[in-house]
Symmetry: C2
Subunit: 107 residues, 2 copies
Amino acid sequence: MSNYRNIDVDQLARGFKALSHPNRLKIFLQLVSCCVPGTNCAADEVQECCIGDLGAALDIAPSTLSHHIKELHQAGLLQMARRGQRMDCRVDTDTLATLREFFEATS
Amino acid sequence: MSNYRNIDVDQLARGFKALSHPNRLKIFLQLVSCCVPGTNCAADEVQECCIGDLGAALDIAPSTLSHHIKELHQAGLLQMARRGQRMDCRVDTDTLATLREFFEATS
DNA sequence: TCGATAGTTCGACATATATCGAATATATAG
DNA sequence: CTATATATTCGATATATGTCGAACTATCGA
């Protein structure tokens, strides 16, 4: 019945909002499909997680891309760290788990 | 790697967008906690699924509530049917499953 | 030091969204 | 038929969002 007593509705809504725009969702899909932490990504092969790579397929301006990445970051969906000239991005698995648990609780 | 080939990104984004507003998320939470189809809801007890009930805790105008319900409906998250003066709402389990599967695929 | 690469910040602008109240529709009870 | 309960539609309005280009910051290489 109510597994929902302890949900932080606003936090959850922020997560959904971050994924609610097709371009941002594509960015996130790109990220989870190449470098979920813990995934066997064959190390030297496909670790293309920098911001430019995430937006390569999107045909939007760099400033717009930067804006979307920031939204995802502020929603807690991805973490960032500088690597030389680039910014490495990776999925924040805790937030992802929170969202997943919401749907598991509805079943 | 990519379990994401066949995802309809726009459809998925519409689902997330519908859940991205705190009031709409609360409405949906109310709905899933009282009448997910298949749930043992003790029939005559708590079947309070009409629109007025869904918004009872929200302190928004009826027109605003109607608007949010419509958004959830158009995103495929809930189905509606008239019952006398009232509109019965119930969760659309197919759409819900689509969203859940997205998160399951990211693990 | 200078130029190139990668990303960010800012201001402007168009569009979308949330909200309300008033008017309207639909159904039931007297 | 009328009054009431429930919900929707419409128009107005304030705020939020997505996008761009220009200017800026940070890092690396020659």
